[in-house]
Amino acid sequence: MTSPTLLEPASPAPQPPPAGTERTRRSFAKRAGGQLHAGPVAYTVLTVLSLLSLFPLVWTLIASSRTSGRLAETPPPFWFGGNLLTNLERAWNEGGLGKAMVNTTVVAGSVTVGTVLFATLAGFAFAKLRFRFQNMLLMLTIGTMMVPPQLSIVPLYLWMADLNWTNQLQSVILPTFVSAFGVFFMRQYLISALPTELIEAARMDGASSLRVVWHVVFPAARPAMAVLAMLTFVTSWNDYLWPVIALNQENPTVQVALNQLGQGRIPDQAVIMAGALLGTLPLLVAFVAFGKQIVGGIMQGAVKG
């Protein structure tokens, strides 16, 4: 995220030196892919697709501001009505979205802290330290990314039932508290972003490993930690399958509450839409504020991962 090439990938990579290139060659280079300015077709297609991308969300807002009856008419509404606050209030209170939002914030917040902290530590060890079984452990880490979470659900449920943890938030937090993707992501970042000389210099000054982590690794990893934090928060906020099984309507996360709305707990479409809006709102706000960084982070993870 620090390097401008990742943030502004639109600006093309530095041109090969123009020395000795005559006119024709340069015009050929201009025709080459990635160099050319987009034409009206590209702009039109991208604009249409962007609108299609945003439309369901905008329409959620429109539907939340209407009454259920209006949603059942044809044609469906295309503009805002005056019912937004009432619907949001009903979703918040009757739909249990209020408690759910608090719960989800707790869950996503703890999972984010745990994932980022432990991923940075392990990523640092895999990137910059040498130890026995290192490669084997790294392969194991990557391998775990292939295992679908469904596979663990039955024993996790049995276990949580044994501990009397069903319906409690820790049953959702602990199984996702660390992430293999996070470890791998931090490793790839730190390999290039953290100069080995810096660690050596710190050690020469007598720094213990913990001090190295605190004063050298964390500062160097900060941009990637921020990206990983955002990605983890989004994933955790939107997690669906396990929370639906592990929690009930007394102590739901947002997704559990939305699931219950969807199954007809409140048969009012406008309220359901208001719930869907509420459940996504924090992430949408984050997207408006940090969209650029999130895009950069995903692209960065993609290049290196």
Binding site: G33, G34, A38, S50, Q150, V154, P155, Y240, G279
Partner: protein, 362 residues
Amino acid sequence: MTGPDNSVDTAGATSPAQGGAAPAGAASEPRTPRGPHGEQGSGGDTSAEEKRLARRSKRARWDLKASPYAFVAPFFLFFAAFGLFPLVYTGWTSLHKVQLGALDDQQWAGFHNYARLLDDDFFWNALWNTFTMGVMSTVPQLLLALGIAHLLNYRLRGSMAYRVALLTPYATSVAAAALVFTLLFGFDSGMINWGLGHLGIDPVNWREEHWYSQAAISSIVVWRWTGYNALIYLAAMQAIPHDLYESAALDGASRWRQFIHVTVPMLRPTILFTVVVSTIGATQLFGEPMLFGGSSGYKGGADHQFQTLGMYMYEQGWVNFSLGRASAIAWVMFLLLLVLAALALVVQRLGPRLRTAMRSQR
């Protein structure tokens, strides 16, 4: 860590505090310049000093050796507890008869759960649905993403705005997306049927009809993930050296031919990566159809027409209370993924070889 390792050994001889693990003392002490000569001159303290030295360098060496394991330990502890152990235990449970109401009463059942799955029409139906919806959601999603990435790779005004707009669905949860699309796909007053009506097309029963309901559910997946994949492709495209395009252009290749003969081959590893990831996602498809189905969503519609393996597992375990069978379904899913991963490997390894072989045949 060979570098620091050496430095600590020598440091231990020259300066007592170097490599020390005590944070507060270590920061202040090494500043006093104390060479080997100075130490020898300090008379009666020598043995105590040496002991301290030895202790410190020992601690430093121990710190160097142990810290990597300490740093990776939290991840592996959590992984072992909540990933590996449940994975193995699921296999164990799948060989038992376990009822949700009586968890402690487990009876050995051997491969009975698996055998029953093979005879079970609903299982095969769910497997087939998972496959068809997987194809319907993955193929358009990746093709569309490739095209979008290509367009975004041009020099573009406001390209960041496009990227953010295209990625926004990624921030939407399965639940919210499924609820909105359910309404959009409504039969009487849904916006999509209304739009189709204007094109002179009869309203489609998106909820009940086999292929239409599957298409509607797939469209939710496509909507949520296309932008994400486009960004991954875009990142890989920007890593392609420009000389390749230049020489292709010099050879008179059109932009379409450049795309087919330069961009796509250079993206092959990335494409394979996204195919594998989307395939894993498709095998796990659960939330979208579950919510699309409404109050008895786990059935996947009146005819089970969009019930996936994940939903069937949920139905067996948490509606029919048969956790043993649910575990067996989970393991079948795992085996399927292993087969798919092996296939991907084979394609990656054999693909180029096959092509050269075919070329030489010609």
